[in-house]
Every structure is written in structure tokens, then in C-alpha cells.
């Protein structure tokens, strides 16, 4: 019963809201089409970057080497995750996992504040 009421609503509705119950029941999402990025761990945006579908699974450097302390003081470690112009590199490029990326980003911002890393450098 619930499925039937959802079906017409889904056909009419636009916008990429997650409908997890529906997804599990209905394997053929083809006709519903791309309505925004799939929730959950899909490939990091095949639509966004004109990149190939699956970028070979990058692993989080911190998880692999089991580095626990990400300090604002070790500039050499932090500089690996900062682009040429000083921006913090997104985790879909570096493969860092979320909790580590958060700590890393905090450390980078602290380092920027104490002039160990630039806010914006060499940006052409």
C-alpha cells in the first residue's frame, strides 16, 4: 500500500531527496533518472568533474600509517594537503577519511593563524 502511494508522488516530485525505502524496494531506478547525487558512498561525482567513474580507491593516509596526532606545528605534514595557492585540498582528491579531514582542516587553520602556512599564496 505504501509503495503505491509513493510511486505517483515520486513520479511527480522533482528534486533529489533521499528515499531510501523506495530505493531498496525498487531496483530499477533508471527511469527516475539522475536527480542529484546518490546518497551514501557513491563515486565522488562522476557528473561534477568529467572524471572517470571510479578513481581507484584512495586510502586515508592517516588511517594507514596510524598517525593520530595532527598538530598545527608539523608544517611538512600539513603542507601535503594544501594546494599551491594555499587552499585546503578536498578529501575526494586526497582520500582522507572524514574525522581526519576535520582535524586536519582545523590544524591547517591554526597553522595559518600563526603564519606557518599562508592564507593565500601564489594564486595566479
Amino acid at each position: 500500500m505504501a509503495e503505491e502511494t509513493k510511486a505517483p508522488a515520486a513520479a511527480e516530485a522533482t528534486g533529489g531527496e533521499a528515499r531510501p525505502a523506495e530505493r531498496s524496494e525498487r531496483p530499477d531506478r533508471g527511469e527516475r533518472g539522475p536527480r542529484g547525487p546518490r546518497t551514501g558512498g557513491g563515486p565522488g561525482g562522476p557528473r561534477e568533474g568529467a572524471r572517470k567513474y571510479f578513481r581507484r580507491k584512495k586510502v586515508c593516509k592517516f588511517c594507514v600509517e596510524r598517525i593520530e596526532a595532527i598538530n598545527y606545528k608539523d608544517v611538512r605534514l600539513l603542507a601535503q594537503f594544501v594546494a599551491e595557492n594555499g587552499k585546503i585540498v578536498p578529501r575526494r582528491l586526497t582520500g582522507v577519511c572524514t574525522p581526519h579531514q576535520r582535524r586536519l582542516s582545523l590544524a591547517i587553520k591554526q597553522a595559518r593563524n600563526i603564519a606557518l602556512l599562508p592564507f593565500a599564496g601564489r594564486a595566479q
Binding site: A69, K73, R112, N113, I114, A115, L116, L117, P118, G121
Partner: protein, 133 residues
Amino acid sequence: MNRTYEVMFIVRSDMVDEDLNKLISTLESSVTSAGGTVKTEIWGKRRLAYTVRRFNEGIFVLLVIEGSGVLVREVERRLRVTEPVIKFITVRTDEELKRLEKIKKIREAHKKTSTAAAPVTPEAGAEPASAPV
């Protein structure tokens, strides 16, 4: 109240050694007299990532302070007033240290149970049967 703080500050590069030491000892004494402990590390001259008050280089000093927040507030006030200090940052580190300790302990316990090949000790906490050899 035992909180750990790290205060890192930058002193202008054209400062003399003895003045620097005088400044540091003043700060240290203000902490110890109020009942905290302090450890100092002088990093030395480094290039700054951007120009601060028309300086491109600075002498970095790190203080690791154990004490209450009032102590640190006093230290910060002094740093703000001192002319040669051009930048400082205070980071509270006791929570982070606690977390690192916990992780270390879990890792040690894990190592012990796996190398001893003994049944898992109950105090190891959340360590399910680690691949019984």
C-alpha cells in the same frame, strides 16, 4: 584544575637573545608564581608565510603551560602588551592528549593480547577475540 595549553608566539626577528630570554623568564615566572608549570621551547628564526607587521621573519617560541585558564589569560595579556611579540596563538591540548592516551592504551592492550596469544583480558575493553591463533 589541570588544563594543558600550548601558547606559541612570534617575536620580531631583530630582537636580541638576552632580551628574548628576559621576556621568556618573565612569562615563566608569572605562570609558576600562580601555581602552574611551564616548559619552553625556542624554535628560532623562521620565515613567515605572510607578512606580519612588515616582518617576513620571526623567532618562534612555544610554551607548554599546565594550569587554569586564568593563568593563560594573564600570559596572553602580557603577550598582547609586549611590543616585540607580533603574533600568538593559544591552543588547549588536554582533551587531545587524553584522547591520544586512550588510543595508545587500546593499542598496547591489543598488542599484548595478540603477542601473548592469550585469551582476551576483560580490562582490555572493547577488544573482541583478536583472531585466536
